[in-house]
């Protein structure tokens, strides 16, 4: 028989004003199983908790019900108190007679009666409560960072500097990401590579960072603290250990006419290449699609010229399993293509801007490469078509972004600022040139941002035209840009030498596939979803996975770096303990009843349900049943409501507890 203790709180007068607390205590004291019942002014106060603890010991209470405020307020308080008195904290329940009773009813009789029923209901519930041990999960103090752009680099360095091992996986042959492509950065105009490359080198040299470039995530298993990540290290065809980075292979490669994607196809590179001179690692990779050796079997020059014998045509993809405890996703962004509308893209094409067919209509990133000192033109702004310097240049903002009719309604956030920067860079390099900007409105919140934008107009003489461009077309060697200036309400026509489109920021291609591997959610644009927009902005709903940078939404560099450090801090918080404790409100499978229909797995929002084989002593398979991984289970109980035989049960909210409550009413 249970010996339940019931404690009715007056909450000063908050409860006792409308609820006759003494009557409630007296009434519930007569319920079967209740051994002790009392009322007290402030149960949550020190003396109140003392009373509770004393009663547990003196009355040898088996369960406790505290009738007071909402459990959302003080459940933790009382469970702690109960625990310190030697009872399992989950044998304590709260009956909410304040928010749900005394505060919402005026009639003392009605409120008292209701309070008696609420407490009675919790008494019946607590009888069915079970001792729940706190669940502890070991934590593997290594983390995985996916993506080697500035977000990934920052997160990796922060975690590694804290002494924890980091596995950094980058899809491209070098880390660096988009920031390595940029010329100068707003609002300070410092050289992107100058601030970026030292960090890249830090990564390469960090004893705690294990770097996989030209690698992708193949498969992710496990849960917070205990992930098993399979990394596919693509065949580089160059042995990283042997290669000294001398670069002879690249200079000798006969196939040199491959568009350089790092330079937005403006320059050419050989079939064996590093994406850019400051690449980390500085180990070339053979582009097998374009390599003569791989296409025809003939050539093999690079192998012959390679002193250390690092070139290996036979190399195959390697699958490496890395155990990690936390994952930071920093896969970054991509720009919406101004070319033909990519298949399956959510946004409609921009035929009015030439669909990429006019060679001197380029996107912002291409302009970055033109403006970059290490770019294909050595930092000179030259037209891709004829190499002439453009004297009239038009920038068009919000290409793709904020265009609901095209399919993207969000703001890409960085374009206003980088366009302003572009006009400045242009003006610095082409002193007699004129920049025009078509814009909807300028969004410049951020430290020194608005000042920067104003400078582009006031000092660098950019002409800002509020309005959109309706059409542009090639006329001789000019591009006629037709738009409207809504500020003055006139049509504008500019004969430009070059047009730069500020195309929308989108998640990386394959963001959705990676999310499915990780079991994290994403929005309709495939940006990854944070657990809470305000309060948990760097965590995924899936425990142990964190977000950094533009994969979560468009971001500039300072925001990206901040979020990366925040994600790193979250990882370090996780790693601060050897074992992870979590509330034991998790589902458990009653294997005897489970027939393995896996309805639970079909509805589980967390992917917590696994298969488990039940075998007899001889090892013969009896059946396959569901197993809920307590580390992954979020505790929603959808599985139990769905299970036809109720063979999976959510601790803390069992059918017995709920039915006991219903039956008490």
């Amino acid at each position: 028989m249970s010996r339940i203790g019931v404690f009715i709180c007056h909450c000063g007068e908050n409860i006792s004003r409308t609820v006759d607390v003494e009557r409630v205590a007296a009434q519930v004291g007569t319920l079967p199983g209740v051994a002790f019942s009392t009322d007290y002014k402030y149960m949550c106060s020190d003396p109140g908790q003392g009373l509770l603890k004393k009663a547990i010991q003196e009355q040898r209470l088996s369960h406790v019900v505290v009738a007071a405020c909402s459990p959302r307020m003080h459940e933790k308080t009382f469970r702690k108190a109960v625990e310190s008195a030697g009872l399992n904290p989950f044998l304590c329940e709260m009956a909410n007679i304040r928010e749900h009773c005394s505060w919402v009813h005026e009639d003392r009789e009605e409120a008292t009666q209701k309070a008696i029923e609420i407490v009675g209901m919790m008494v019946e519930r607590v009888k069915k409560n079970r001792v729940l041990p706190t669940i502890t999960v070991p934590v593997t103090k290594r983390s995985l960072v996916i993506g080697g752009g500035i977000a990934g680099i920052q997160a990796a360095l922060d975690i590694a500097d804290c002494g924890h091992e980091v596995v950094l996986v980058e899809r491209e042959p070098s880390i660096g990401g988009h920031m390595a492509q940029l010329s100068e950065t707003f609002p300070t105009l410092d050289c992107s590579q100058c601030i970026m490359t030292p960090k890249m080198v830090d990564v390469a040299n960090h004893p705690k960072i294990k770097l996989y470039t030209y690698a992708e995530i193949e498969h992710v298993e496990g849960y917070i603290g205990n992930f098993q990540v399979t990394v596919r290290k693509k065949a580089r065809s160059v042995d990283e250990d042997k290669c000294t980075g001398c670069g002879v292979c690249m200079t000798k490669c006969p196939q040199k006419k491959i568009p350089n994607t790092f330079d937005r196809n403006l320059g050419m590179r050989p079939a064996i290449y590093v994406p850019f001179p400051q690449a980390v690692p500085n180990t070339p990779v053979i582009d097998r699609e374009n390599c003569t050796k791989f296409k025809t079997g003939k050539c093999g020059v690079c192998q012959k010229v390679c002193g250390p014998g690092a070139v290996d045509y036979e190399q195959e993809d390697q699958l490496i399993v890395e155990p990690v405890g936390a994952i930071v996703v920093a896969t970054g962004f991509d720009l919406y293509s101004i070319e033909e509308k990519p298949k399956g893209s959510p946004i409609k094409g921009y035929g009015e801007f030439g669909h990429g067919k006019i060679p001197d209509v380029i996107d912002g990133m291409t302009f970055e490469r033109l403006a970059s000192a290490s770019g294909p033109t050595g930092g000179k702004i030259l037209r891709p078509s004829d190499g002439r310097e453009p004297k009239q240049i038009v920038f068009i903002q919000c290409v793709g972004s904020r265009a609901r009719e095209k399919g993207i309604s969000y703001c890409s956030k960085i374009c206003c600022m980088y366009t302003a920067k572009h006009t400045m860079l242009y003006h610095h390099k082409v002193h007699d040139g004129q920049a025009y900007v078509f814009f909807m409105d300028a969004r410049t919140p951020g430290k020194s941002y608005d000042e920067f934008w104003r400078r582009s107009i006031e000092e660098e003489e950019a002409v800002y035209i509020r309005g959109m461009v309706s059409r542009l077309y090639q006329k001789g060697d000019k591009i006629v840009v037709m738009g409207s200036d809504i500020a003055v309400g006139v049509q504008v026509e500019i004969e430009a030498d070059m047009v730069v489109l500020a195309t929308a920021v989108q998640p990386q291609k394959g963001a959705d596939t990676l999310a499915q591997k990780l079991g994290i959610s994403y929005d309709k644009y495939h940006f990854y979803s944070e657990a809470h927009a305000k309060l948990r902005p760097v965590e995924c709903a899936t425990a142990g996975i964190y977000l950094a940078g533009a994969c979560q939404g468009p971001k500039d560099i300072p925001d990206t770096v901040s979020q990366a450090s925040a994600a790193a801090a979250k990882v370090m918080t996780l790693f601060a303990k050897d074992k992870l404790e979590r509330e034991p409100i998790v589902a458990k499978v009653r294997e005897a009843g489970c027939v393995g229909c896996f309805y639970c797995r079909k509805v589980c929002p967390y992917g917590a349900v696994e298969e488990k084989e039940i075998r007899d002593r001889q090892g013969n398979l009896i059946k396959v049943v569901a197993y809920v991984n307590p580390g992954v289970c979020g505790g929603c109980g959808t599985c139990q409501a769905t299970c036809p035989s109720k063979s999976v049960e959510l601790d803390g909210y069992t059918d017995e507890q709920i039915v006991a409550m219903i039956e008490s009413l």
Binding site: H100, V104, E106, I118, A641, I662, E663
Partner: protein, 165 residues
């Protein structure tokens, strides 16, 4: 404001709510000192996804005159998608109850967020008043007392028990 006038019939309303949204919304109604009829008894679940249709059936069998099921708005589920599963489950279940002859006026589903204390009050008040107008849920109560003819005993005690409800 709710008037505490006396009625002939005080319906029993059982509410199944999720912890994160509706329970918190009901808390907010309390902290805002809003007033509503005292007929409702709240059962807290982690998520509407946990609410088994059998509980609704059980509630009616235990004498509920009305049942309210309430959780997070679509997209707000603390557990990602529990309320989406619940929505389908209850869309189907209410059709079944209707088909066996339960008046759906007694069964209310709602989304009440943690910020919607006022909506909670409205839901509870509306359902209570509606069910009050409909009168007691006799069907399940009578059914609970019915026996197969062969097992029925026409004892005075049984008669008394029957008349007391």
């Amino acid at each position: 404001m709710h008037h505490t006038e006396k009625h002939n019939f005080e319906p029993k309303i059982i509410a199944f709510v999720c912890t994160w949204c509706t329970y918190a919304g009901a808390d907010l109604a309390g902290t805002s000192r809003m007033q509503y009829p005292a007929n409702v008894r709240v059962l807290k679940f982690p998520c509407t996804g946990r609410i088994d249709p059998v509980f609704i059936l059980k509630a009616f069998q235990q004498g509920a005159d009305g049942v309210l099921v309430s959780g997070c708005h679509p997209g707000d589920c603390h557990y990602i998608a529990g309320n989406f599963h619940a929505r389908r489950r209850f869309a189907a279940f209410r059709k079944l109850l209707e088909f066996v002859g339960v008046d759906l006026g007694r069964l209310q589903f709602s989304w009440v967020s943690a910020a919607e204390g006022g909506k909670w009050v409205e839901m509870v008040t509306d359902l209570t008043e509606r069910v009050r107008g409909m009168g007691p849920m006799q069907e399940f109560r009578e059914l609970a007392l019915e026996e197969q003819w062969s097992g029925a005993i026409d004892t005075p005690e049984l008669r008394e028990a029957y008349n007391s409800i």
